[in-house]
């Protein structure tokens, strides 16, 4: 037995050292399966693509790859030879990175005519297609402020007031896209030379920075499931609606409110990844993603507004949500030029 193992080992060693290995290419035949790359928060209703498969014969496999930033980076690093065919979930704060990487094939969906023209502002070349929009805003725990007899903050300026010391939790703009949106809101509000001072004061006022939105909202925030210590948080304008929808026991009154002058407008896009072998099918998928059926699924599964104006917005969604009138915004090319330098500066201010 010993001799046998020795010989077997020797044989493997010799074979390996003289080295020969061959890889066979797998051939792709049969019906086409599209890979839809998406971030972790892409959670449509189960079976939503069955109708698409029935109509076109094309199957859809969802491949999730981390948060929005991570998803985009991996796709950007592999531009031209993508790991999927269609990408869901690059927003206006990250759009410039996608353009720099030249990772998308332009396409004009048949559904563009159903969309508000303002959604096309950033994408004259139709590199990507808008799929949903919403706002990142300061949310607050209504009960906490009632109990403590304090009025909730309505503006960004209010957050550096001593009244709100140690009450705010924000996701890091480096690792979180709502975190980045909130950071950009402060840049839009206080200017490229003013936000540094604002964040210095925010830090002095005890802001808590955590990795991601989920940790901020569901763990540290007092107004949601985690019942944390902090009654002010960065979240979405649609978060109160989500709280009502998932309330157990059911409720008619939203437990959280939105500070209307703190919002940053977010538009999310999908695009066909350059280098896909299934371009025609990918175009069909973009059409499906922007069509009424899929768009009507968005509000209650992902708490965003549909871009297709024919889509049905459920009453349970629209009743608890109002869009801020003039959300803050920054042109995507300005973001592109400054993002890395801003975030470095932000880190050295906040984590000094």
């Amino acid at each position: 037995m010993k001799r046998f193992t020795a010989l077997a080992l020797a044989a493997i060693l010799l074979a390996a050292c003289s080295g020969s290995s061959s890889e066979t290419e797998q051939s792709t035949a049969g019906p086409v399966t599209l890979k839809l790359l998406a971030h972790d928060s892409f959670t449509p209703t189960e079976g939503i693509f069955d109708a698409f498969t029935e109509a076109t014969g094309v199957m859809v496999e969802i491949v999730r790859g981390g948060d929005a930033g991570e998803l985009l980076t991996k796709a950007a690093l592999t531009a031209g030879t993508p790991e999927g065919d269609v990408l869901w979930g690059v927003d206006n704060t990250l759009l410039s990175r996608a353009f720099d990487a030249d990772m998308f094939d332009s396409y004009q969906s048949v559904n563009l005519s159903t969309m508000d023209p303002s959604l096309m502002r950033n994408i004259p070349g139709h590199e990507v297609t808008p799929v949903d929009f919403g706002d990142v805003c300061i949310n607050y725990d209504i009960a906490w402020f009632t109990d403590n007899d304090i009025s909730p903050p309505m503006t960004l300026d209010a957050l550096i007031n001593k009244t709100y010391a140690n009450l705010l939790v924000v996701p890091s703009p480096i690792s979180s896209s709502p975190g980045l949106a909130f950071f950009l809101a402060t840049v839009a509000e206080f200017g490229e030379d003013g936000w540094q001072d604002y964040w210095t004061q925010l830090r002095a006022n005890g802001v808590l920075v955590v990795d991601g939105w989920t940790q901020a909202y569901s763990t540290e925030f007092s107004g949601s499931s985690g019942k944390g210590d902090r009654p002010i948080v960065v979240s979405y304008s649609s978060s109160p609606a989500a709280e009502v929808l998932f309330a157990d026991p059911p409720t008619e009154v939203a437990p959280t409110g939105v500070a209307p002058f703190t919002c940053f407008a977010q538009i999310e896009y999908a695009g066909i990844l350059r280098g896909t072998k299934h371009k025609a099918e990918a175009q069909l998928l973009i059409d499906y993603l922007t069509d009424v059926a899929f768009q009507s699924d968005l509000p209650l599964t992902q708490f965003v507004f549909p871009v297709n104006s024919n889509a049905v917005i459920p009453e349970s969604f629209s009743r608890y949500i109002s869009r801020p009138e003039n959300p803050l915004s920054i042109e995507h090319n300005v973001i592109a030029e400054n993002r890395v330098a801003w975030l470095d500066e932000w880190s050295s201010i906040v984590f000094k």
Partner: protein, 513 residues
């Protein structure tokens, strides 16, 4: 050794390893340098106040972690080196287990143990580093310390030296080479720490290694990431060069004869009980904490996705262990049988130590992206990346074994008429077998725990266990965390068990032989 025992083979033994390292290590690193390195990026990085902050943290946490590790490890090393006592094997297994754990799991267990106020602080990171690295010092220093004859200490005592003076003038000089080696290794591990910092650092604490990842993956600042990884590589190269110079001059112990004895005095017993109890607690406490917090997670651990990551991890471990052991053994044999200078080869084998795991992952991702070389999404690229990290370990395990094979045995075989091939099969191979088994086991452990390179190469469909644990922890909700804790508990128990069995069988073998 001036005459090569197998003169014909020593050169072609290097062909496959050289090709392998060139394609999967040198090429990706070259592409990174080519794509990202520029004077501007370097200047930007060095003058960037945020990166200065990260570099400073990396440096001071390395110093503190290393010092604390040595301080905690020396008393433990003392009792396991000097004394034989009941429970010694169990204690050694307990202490060694954290080192075999994925750093992600060590981080997770501290998250479970430490109070909320210490989460995402420097203290938690340093605690993880100490817990992880104590084993390195104990294991490396123990043979030297056990080798010291107690008569030396008795003589010193007779001449009136205090216990401390005896340690300073006799024990310390004798263990210094081993201690120096262990300290350097610990410092390197702390400096390039990734998994523990990803879990415990939160948004505020970053080492250079995690900063490379954040830059590349979250910021999309490839130039910046490359600049940092080149600076880090340069720094590690200097450290490793110094280390190699230094270890060459210090001789290693050829024959280890243990002078460990049964404790004879009450003070010995007190030392053994206090130190043994304290160090066992330090390992068991995190285990109990993760086990406690995992209570509600077990029902979901066997869900499809978690079970599949277990399967993926095991498969990768087997494949990368085989690749690493084959390539590493080829290199070790080539070095041992070669008559020419081995410095070049030594440099090649230490390359994977200088080029960090994160850099390897990043390099592979951007290098093998063009058809027909689009390997980056092939499943086998991850085990290959793992094997790159394990190869230096394999070489360092197998090489000393081959070098100590007495030429007289081969000569005897030749005198009796066996040809070189038979000679090799009957003399060299049987004597290497235990080393190869150790190399296989260790490289499998490296693969199971690897997180840095895997972070770049992982896909939803083939997540490894550390990636799954990190993902579960990064999401909110008790049930997700409980699942992560349950996986960490599994790792912990399995690791302690494996080390204990290895310890017991080795001692049995030592007794019988």
């Amino acid at each position: 050794m001036l005459v090569s025992p197998y003169p014909k083979t020593s050169h072609w033994l290097l062909v496959v390893p050289a090709l392998f390292l060139a394609v999967f290590l040198a090429l990706p690193f070259g592409v990174i340098v080519y794509r990202g390195a520029s004077i501007d990026a370097f200047v930007d990085s060095i003058t960037n106040s945020n990166l200065q902050r990260v570099a400073w943290f990396t440096f001071w946490q390395t110093v503190i972690s290393t010092v604390l590790t040595v301080v905690f490890a020396l008393p433990v090393t003392y009792i396991v080196s000097r004394f034989r006592f009941r429970g010694r094997n169990a204690l050694l297994a307990l202490i060694t287990a954290p080192f075999l754990l994925p750093t992600v799991v060590v981080g997770t267990s501290l998250l479970a143990l430490l109070p909320q106020q210490l989460h995402y602080t420097a203290i938690s990171i340093i605690a993880a580093h100490v817990l992880f690295n104590v084993a390195v010092v104990v294991r490396v220093v123990m043979p030297s310390w056990a080798h010291i004859s107690p008569e030396l200490a008795y003589a010193a005592h007779t001449l009136g030296a205090s216990t401390f003076r005896t340690f300073r003038t006799i024990t310390f000089p004798l263990i210094r080479p081993a201690l120096g080696f262990a300290t350097t290794a610990v410092a390197l591990f702390c400096f390039t720490s990734f998994g523990a910092v990803r879990i415990l650092g939160g948004p505020a604490f970053s080492t250079l290694e995690t900063e490379i990842y954040f830059r590349a993956v979250q910021l999309g600042d490839l130039d910046g990431a490359v600049a940092i990884s080149l600076i880090q590589t340069l720094f590690l190269a200097i450290v490793l060069y110094a280390w190699m110079r230094w270890t060459r001059t210090s001789s290693t112990l050829a024959v280890v004869h243990s002078h460990a004895a049964s404790p004879s005095r009450t003070s010995h017993w007190v030392a053994i009980i206090i130190v043994g109890f304290a160090s066992a607690t330090a390992v068991i406490a995190p285990l109990i904490a993760v086990a406690y917090r995992s209570a509600t997670g077990w029902s979901q651990v066997w869900s499809r996705s978690t079970a599949s990551s277990l399967f993926v991890s095991v498969r990768y471990a087997i494949i990368s262990a085989i690749i690493a052991t084959l390539i590493g053994t080829c290199i070790a044999l080539a070095v041992a049988y070669s008559t020419t200078s081995t410095r070049v080869i030594e440099l090649i084998t230490s390359l994977p130590l200088m080029i960090s795991a994160v850099t390897i992952g990043l390099g592979v991702l951007i290098t093998f992206d063009t058809s027909p070389y689009a390997f980056r999404s092939a499943w086998w690229i991850t085990p290959i990346a793992h094997s790159l990290i394990a190869i230096p370990l394999v070489v360092r395990i197998v090489l000393p074994l081959v070098q100590t094979i007495p030429q007289s045995l081969r000569d005897a075989a030749a005198t009796l008429g066996s040809r070189p091939r038979v000679q090799w099969l009957t003399v060299d191979l049987p004597l290497m077998r235990r080393g190869i088994a150790t190399a296989l086991a260790l490289s499998a452990a490296v693969s199971i725990g690897e997180f840095g390179a895997t972070s770049f190469l992982t896909r939803q469909s083939n997540e490894t266990l550390p990636v799954t644990i990190a993902r579960l922890l990064s999401r909110p909700g008790e049930s997700q965390h409980a699942q992560a804790y349950a996986l960490a508990t599994l790792f912990f128990v399995f690791s302690i068990g494996a080390v204990f069995i290895a310890e017991v069988t080795r001692n049995k073998r030592n007794i019988t032989s």
